[in-house]
């Protein structure tokens, strides 16, 4: 069963997202909403990894046999200024999208497995990931005109 591959992928993607939220929180302390919310959302990602554990215990977690083709390694450092903020939020959006779609595939498997516990975990976590995406999009939409048209 290859579900273990996807559980591993998900685990790693949540971890990368948590680290990246923390990186952005640290790098954009001058934007208090970004700073504090990214810390909160990082904690959500930590929780998601904990929530995954019973599923990992049941189905295992194995590295993918295929090499990584698309590298989503997270943010190693943050950028500067209004456009930098926009780019960093956009990177978070991409990482959260990867998490979101991976939860989606795990959910599909859970349905086929008729594993209600798994579905409950997915439902709880993916709902939060969806809100993370919505927040990132709301914040970027607000920031984009100013960053792209008038920022120095």
């Amino acid at each position: 069963m290859n579900l273990s591959v996807y559980l591993g992928l998900l685990h790693k993607a949540e971890q990368t997202l948590a680290d990246s939220f923390r990186q952005v929180a640290k790098g954009h302390g001058e934007e208090p909403d970004v700073h504090f919310l990214c810390q909160t959302l990082a904690k959500q990602c930590d929780e998601h990894q904990r929530a995954l554990q019973p599923l990992v215990d049941r189905y295992g977690e194995t590295p993918e046999a295929e090499p990584e083709r698309l590298h989503a390694e997270g943010l190693s450092e943050t950028r500067q200024g209004p456009v930098g903020l926009l780019r960093d939020l956009q990177d978070l959006y991409l990482l959260a999208s990867l998490v979101d779609i991976t939860w989606g595939m795990v959910k599909q498997a859970g349905q086929a497995l008729r594993d209600s516990e798994m579905l409950a975990v997915v439902d709880q976590c993916d709902k939060q990931t969806a809100v993370q995406l919505a927040w990132l999009q709301s914040r970027m939409r607000q920031a984009a005109p100013q960053a792209l048209l008038v920022a120095e």
């Binding site: 208090p32 919505a134 927040w135 709301s138 100013q146 120095e152």
Partner: protein, 841 residues
């Protein structure tokens, strides 16, 4: 005659449930002026708190010389509070008033003509629009202007300049009221009525020190409490306020824990079956989600976090759950604390669960902090679209474009409007280069003042300030425009229970001061803003034209004014919107039939996620299928971001005192109010003071990560672990004494008295209201005091009773007896005509 400094709420006139609140006409005349000899009385309403007390202004020889409450008005039944009696006309007629425009030349503000000042503004505005576009412009206004002025500003901002960067200081006081109403009910608009106080059987005040913020409304409550059928009173407040002292249940919770308490109260209602299931089924969505969020918040869990006895939480819930008629009010203790919107929404949820909205005594007042905040919100001077329209609904944008005859693309509607803190951030980063500030004083009222001062001082930021006095903000402006204020111009404004009042021009403004409306219209004319057919965007000649234009804008919206005219507002009582032609008497309560403005084509907002502020958006909103049902929104508790630690072990919270308003621009220039609360202080509890070896009146240093205060200490009844500071005390009068020429430059005074030196730059994710009531501080002694702290003894700042046994030997501690009571003396005596009798017509 009653000393209304000593007796803040005046003489009791008790009444029973469903009774009529007795009339008591309060009056104060200038020294030596006989009320019978004045030339004329002009109708108005008071601007010195959010209550909206109707009044008449006495005029003699072209000057304002007195004030009396209007007996016939539904809001105050003749009463006025100390600020209205002593600060209203007195705050306008001080010799410090600005009488000429000022312009900065060689670094100094100098008098100039209106032409020169406005040309400087217009030249800068035009060149920036050409070079950088509309996003270079920001407008930051007030909760003190009139409806007509906000609407003019909103049209200029949205259809003239075309910038989303517009907000008011209402962001600091009532943004959460608006947000919670939008989130729960689909649109702003207060469900309740002040008459619900007359009919309620229980009254819940959530973070609302009504005794000091709306003293006349509190008089109404005191009169119910003193009458037969006394309503039960529940108070949520970390301080021992007058409200708390009268309460049956006082939940003195730790600052920053409101949402845990609220989630627990909601849980208690659900677990005990204190729910109107038919109502919930027919008129709400979201019960399942709400129930799951609150489930973990047992009274024990919440009690332990909030620092209160779980039994008190159970008792409060029992009162809410089992009383037939409950009225709730909410204010800054919730709005300016962490998770503001989520906490305020839980109050809405309590009422929705019990189906308790829109009937006598069964109501909800998400209070306003300022007299004209409601107009700021409905006109869109807070950045929203006028008439509670939804920026994310293209139909609504088109309605405005048609009304104004402009291209809809000019109207910014790509995101939530830019809130005040973000406008200042853009100014800090240099992308907003033109900032027009009207009738507000951000150099004292925004959080983390050292940062705000730096932003306002940036040479590349062009700052226009329009105000009555040379405030701390005006001192650093590039252009200062002298404004006419209350009693010097005509306009309307609306209080928290949707009562619209007219305020007539009684006297000429001083010198060359002009009304804010005239200034905005002049700017629009000089800028050449036009409609699509080339005619002037704003062709109004005065306030009544503006009011008529606004009525069209409000037509068919929740805040419909189309049935109101200046004529109807003259004489008699104020009128509550919505008010259409049939009948033109207004609407006392909203949502009596359980139908809410959540229809997607009609609603003001599709809502936000309460934890993050993420936009819900049209698709997800429509999927909820609210269609006229209210939305039970919920979020889990999360701790405040700055918690006490080893370095800063105390919680810091800020607030008001009954005798002052905002940064004291007016109230600080009233003899009586000034004497009652002359200068800054901080408060801490007896146990904290003892642990730190501090005594009443000691000069202390209060330090946060952002700054420090150096002020006298009041040992009071604030809960242990918490330090309280009043936020009124900036620097315009830092030199001792008061009078023309006695003010020192704000920039030269040490910045150690304004409470916002210490506050954190952070805001609620949904309402964007700054978190003024959560920070961490430490406190240390500078020197022994030689007198008690200058804090009033008549308010929540009263001294605690000190246990003299606990005082170290050899050390004299000025305890309760050493603090002289706050009295106003002969100067503060005002007349009261109970039943209106004896008062001349």
């Amino acid at each position: 005659m009653v000393d209304r400094i000593a007796e803040i709420w005046g003489t009791r006139t008790p009444y029973g449930k469903d009774g009529q609140w007795p009339v008591r006409v309060d009056r104060k005349m200038a020294d030596g002026v006989d009320a019978d000899t004045v030339d004329r009385w002009f109708q108005s309403a008071c601007l010195l708190c959010s209550n909206g007390c109707a009044c008449d202004i006495a005029v003699k020889d072209g000057a304002m010389v007195g004030i009396r409450g209007r007996a016939d008005d539904r809001v105050n039944h003749g009463r006025l509070g100390p600020k209205g009696l002593f600060g209203s006309w007195q705050g306008m007629s001080h010799p410090d008033r600005l009488t000429s425009p000022l312009i900065r030349r060689n670094g100094k503000l100098q008098e100039c003509s209106w032409d020169e000042a406005m040309e400087r503004v217009v030249e800068r505005s035009r060149s920036l629009l050409t070079e950088k576009g509309p996003l270079s412009h920001g407008f930051y206004t007030s909760g003190q202007l009139f409806l007509e002025e906000y609407y003019a500003l909103a049209v200029i901002g949205k259809a003239g300049v075309g910038t989303p960067h517009m907000d008011g200081n209402t962001r600091l006081c009532t943004a959460t009221a608006a947000s919670s109403l939008k989130e729960s009910f689909g649109a702003d608009g207060q469900p309740g009525s002040y008459r619900d106080i007359d009919s309620c059987e229980a009254l819940f005040l959530f973070g609302h020190n009504m005794a000091e913020t709306q003293t006349v409304l509190w008089s109404r409550v005191l009169d119910r409490l003193a009458g037969p059928d006394r309503p039960a009173l529940v108070c949520v407040d970390p301080r021992d306020t007058d409200v708390a002292r009268h309460a049956d249940v006082h939940l003195a919770i730790n600052p920053g824990t409101n949402l845990a308490l609220m989630n627990s109260l909601v849980r208690e209602l659900l677990h005990n079956g204190w729910v109107d299931e038919d109502y919930v089924r027919a008129h709400t969505v979201g019960l399942e989600e709400l129930a799951s969020v609150v489930e973990q918040w047992t009274p024990e869990a919440a009690g332990s976090l909030c620092g209160v006895d779980p039994g008190l939480i159970r008792e409060a819930a029992r009162i809410f759950g089992t009383t037939d008629r409950v009225l709730s009010t909410v204010l800054q203790g919730f709005y300016q604390s962490s998770q503001a919107t989520a906490s305020a929404c839980q109050v809405n949820n309590l009422h929705l669960l019990r189906g308790m909205l829109g009937n006598p005594g069964r109501g909800l007042l998400q209070m306003n902090g300022q007299p004209t905040a409601q107009n700021n919100r409905e006109c869109g001077a807070d950045g929203d679209l006028p008439g509670f329209r939804n920026w994310a609904n293209p139909e609504h944008v088109q309605q405005l474009a048609s009304l104004w005859n402009v291209d809809p693309l000019v109207i910014p509607h790509w995101a939530d409007p830019t809130h005040a803190m973000q406008i200042f951030r853009y100014a800090e980063q240099g992308s907003v280069k033109f900032l027009w500030i009207s009738a507000t004083n951000p150099a004292v009222s925004l959080p983390q003042l050292s940062r705000i001062r730096n932003i306002l001082a940036k040479p590349e930021l062009f700052v226009v300030v329009q105000d009555l006095y040379l405030t701390e903000t005006a001192e650093v402006a590039d252009v200062v425009l002298p404004a006419a204020g209350w009693g010097e111009k005509t306009g309307t404004f609306t209080n928290v229970d949707r009562t619209v009042h007219l305020s007539d021009k009684a006297v000429e403004p001083p010198g060359e001061a002009r009304s804010d409306l005239d200034i905005f219209l002049d700017y629009s004319r000089r800028m050449g803003f036009t409609t699509l057919d080339g005619s002037p965007l704003l062709d109004w000649s005065g306030p009544e034209d503006a009011f008529e234009a606004w009525k069209e804008c409000s037509r068919g919206r929740p805040c419909d004014y189309t049935g109101i005219t200046y004529q109807l507002l003259r004489g008699g009582s104020g009128i509550q919107w919505p008010c259409t032609d049939s009948p033109p008497s207004g609407t006392e309560r909203l949502y009596s039939d359980g139908t809410f403005p959540t229809e997607p084509s009609y609603c003001e907002s599709y809502g936000h996620d309460l934890l993050t502020g993420a936009n819900v958006g049209p698709v997800a909103f429509k999927a909820m299928a609210p269609s006229g049902r209210a939305i039970l929104k919920a979020a889990d508790y999360s701790p405040p971001h700055e918690m006490p630690d080893e370095e800063y072990p105390l919680r810091y919270t800020t607030g008001r005192t009954a005798y002052q308003f905002h940064t004291r621009t007016k109230t600080g220039r009233s003899r009586q109010l000034r004497a009652a609360a002359p200068s800054a202080w901080v408060e801490m509890s007896v146990s904290d003071a003892e642990a730190a070896g501090l005594a009443e009146g000691d000069i202390v240093r209060v330090v946060s990560r952002r700054g420090e205060l150096q002020v006298p200490l009041r040992i009071g009844d604030v809960r242990a672990g918490t330090v309280f500071a009043p936020f009124h005390y900036g620097y315009w009068d830092a030199a001792a004494g008061l009078g023309a020429g006695s003010t020192v430059s704000a920039s030269s005074a040490p910045h150690t008295t304004a409470a916002n030196e210490l506050t954190i730059t952070e805001w609620d994710p949904v309402s964007k209201q700054p978190v003024f009531k959560n920070a961490a501080v430490r406190i240390e002694k500078i020197s022994d005091g030689d007198r008690p702290a200058p804090a009033p003894t008549t308010t929540a700042s009263r001294p605690a009773v000190v246990d003299h046994q606990a005082v170290p030997p050899g050390r004299a501690v000025p305890g309760e007896r050493a603090v002289p009571p706050t009295l106003g003396g002969a100067d503060a005596e005002a007349e009261e005509f109970i039943g209106g009798e004896g008062e001349p017509a």
